[in-house]
């Protein structure tokens, strides 16, 4: 794999990134570095722009009418919004897991095989089987589903469905995984399993996670960025943000004093 960068190298860099939805400006001059091999948590109140930022990274905002981006956002130094960028290829490099588990109404096997098939990643059935098993293994789901791979993905429990979506995301060997509140629909046990998984995935992927759970951000991430009204108020090592934030807005938000 050539995309492996030493831990700590800047993987994604935003410089003066601004995003508009029609007249409304959702992000103002964001300057933010996301480092390879780390989990970066984006926190902030609803409507602060954290999900908008997340969705810029794989150009999901392209699908929103009237959305416009200014400034620069780079992946390994290349502009994500360059005209020459193939968005389908970009999304293969930048996978995404959503708030609500959204498996396809297909078998467990086909859910995971879907991406590798459309990207032509396997030359034969044996290779495809390998990718599927590997991805399920990495997502910590293989043991629970290996004897029922032909059953529908939707027959799994919520927590299993979410790990199936993670397996589906990693099946195309992305470099980055974006997670938009991946545990908000899960019970504490399923949440713990996903968090444990995030920690393991960090070895092979760069992860950016949006979460409303302060404890979750504190538990899973190495770096945390606090967003407020479309701006990054503070970014730092997670430990520092949660024990000794430098900005009063950050302090107010994480201690539950937001006015």
């Amino acid at each position: 794999m050539t995309h492996f960068l030493p831990e700590g190298t800047v993987k994604i860099a935003a410089q003066n990134l601004g995003v508009f939805y029609g007249e409304k400006q959702a992000l103002h001059a964001i300057n933010l570095d996301i480092r390879a091999g780390e989990v970066t948590a984006l926190i902030g109140p609803s409507g602060c722009g954290k999900s908008t930022f997340l969705r810029c990274i794989n150009r999901m905002n392209d699908m929103v009418d009237g959305a416009r981006v200014e400034g620069s956002l780079t992946l390994d130094g290349n502009d994500i919004y360059d005209r020459g960028i193939d968005v389908v290829q970009l999304r293969a490099r930048v996978g995404m897991v959503f708030q609500k588990p959204n498996p396809f109404p297909k078998s467990i096997y086909d859910n995971v095989a879907y991406g590798p098939r459309i990207h032509g990643m396997a030359k034969d059935q044996t290779e495809l089987d390998e990718i599927v098993m590997n991805s399920l293994e990495k997502a910590g789901l293989l043991g629970e589903v290996e004897d029922r791979l032909s059953e529908s993905g939707t027959s799994l429990s919520g927590g299993q469905q979410q790990r199936l979506c993670i397996a589906r995301a990693i099946a195309v060997s992305p470099e980055i995984i974006l997670m938009d509140e991946p545990c908000s629909a899960l019970d504490p046990i399923a949440t713990a399993k996903v968090e444990e998984l995030i920690d393991e995935l960090r070895e092979n992927f760069t992860i950016v996670i949006v979460t409303h759970s302060m404890q979750q951000a504190a538990r899973v991430s190495q770096r945390t960025a606090f967003f407020h009204l479309g701006k990054v108020v503070e970014m730092g090592d997670t430990e520092q943000i949660f024990t000794n934030p430098q900005h009063t807005l950050t302090q107010g938000y994480i201690t539950g004093r937001f006015g």
């Binding site: 302060m214 404890q215 504190a218 949660f242 024990t243 000794n244 934030p245 950050t250 302090q251 107010g252 994480i254 201690t255 539950g256 004093r257 937001f258 006015g259």
Partner: protein
């Protein structure tokens, strides 16, 4: 700082710091009474100090268990987290201060029944200094005054210097008059315990600095020599 969205959380934090404020006041009073019982040779007062220590121990337990409850139920962050962790720490320091006050009273009970052959003025002066340091740090806690905490922190050297003076006086006394050895030795322990109270005040200052600012005080604390030997 503005209030929490959940009001009962504010009340709980205020309850926690309230116990510490009362505990600090009580420990200060215990120390003062212990000192009076020594200077005025008052057995009754000394006995009351010895008995009063239990109340402070109970308050320390109250702080520890209430803080654990807050940690579990509120999952505090940042300044709240530092306040709660510091409360546990400071409560422990105050409990130690009270222990030393009780020990002073116990020794006063013994000294009161020995001939008044050794003057206690030196020890009383040291105690007066440490009492003002202790009062300042407890005020700083209540007022969340980090400047005051730093001033207390840097005053420990003064305490150490005076302790060394008292130490030397008592040794001289024992050298001159072997009949004064018992009383002088008790006074020596008392002086050491008072100096320790000063150390605990310094520890509270450090914890308070962390609570308010998020880091321990910067730089090396000015330290005197506390082994009683001139440097």
């Amino acid at each position: 700082m503005t209030d929490h969205t959940v009001k009962s959380y504010d009340e709980e934090l205020a309850h926690l710091t309230g116990i510490i404020a009362r505990m600090g006041g009580l420990a200060e009073a215990q120390f003062t009474s212990a000192l009076h019982s020594l200077v005025k040779r008052d057995d009754e007062l000394a006995s009351r100090v010895v008995a009063g220590d239990q109340r402070i121990d109970e308050m320390d337990h109250e702080v520890q268990s209430f803080a654990v409850r807050l940690l579990a139920l509120r999952q505090p962050m940042a300044a709240d987290l530092r306040l709660i962790v510091s409360a546990m720490n400071i409560s422990g320091e105050i409990e130690r201060v009270a222990d030393y006050a009780a020990n002073l009273a116990k020794r006063a009970l013994i000294l009161n029944h020995l001939p008044a052959s050794v003057p206690v003025a030196g020890v009383a002066r040291l105690a007066e200094l440490v009492r003002s340091v202790l009062k300042d740090i407890l005020d700083a806690y209540i007022e969340r005054d980090v400047e005051k905490a730093i001033r207390v922190w840097s005053r420990d050297e003064e305490v150490d210097a005076m302790y060394n003076g008292v130490f030397k006086e008592l040794i001289d006394r024992m050298t001159e008059d072997s009949g004064a050895i018992t009383a002088s030795t008790h006074l020596l322990f008392i002086a050491k315990n008072i100096e320790r109270i000063g150390d605990h005040a310094t520890n509270i200052a450090e914890t308070l600095h962390f609570q308010i600012v998020g880091t321990p005080p910067q730089g090396e604390r000015p330290k005197g020599n506390t082994v009683g030997v001139p440097q």
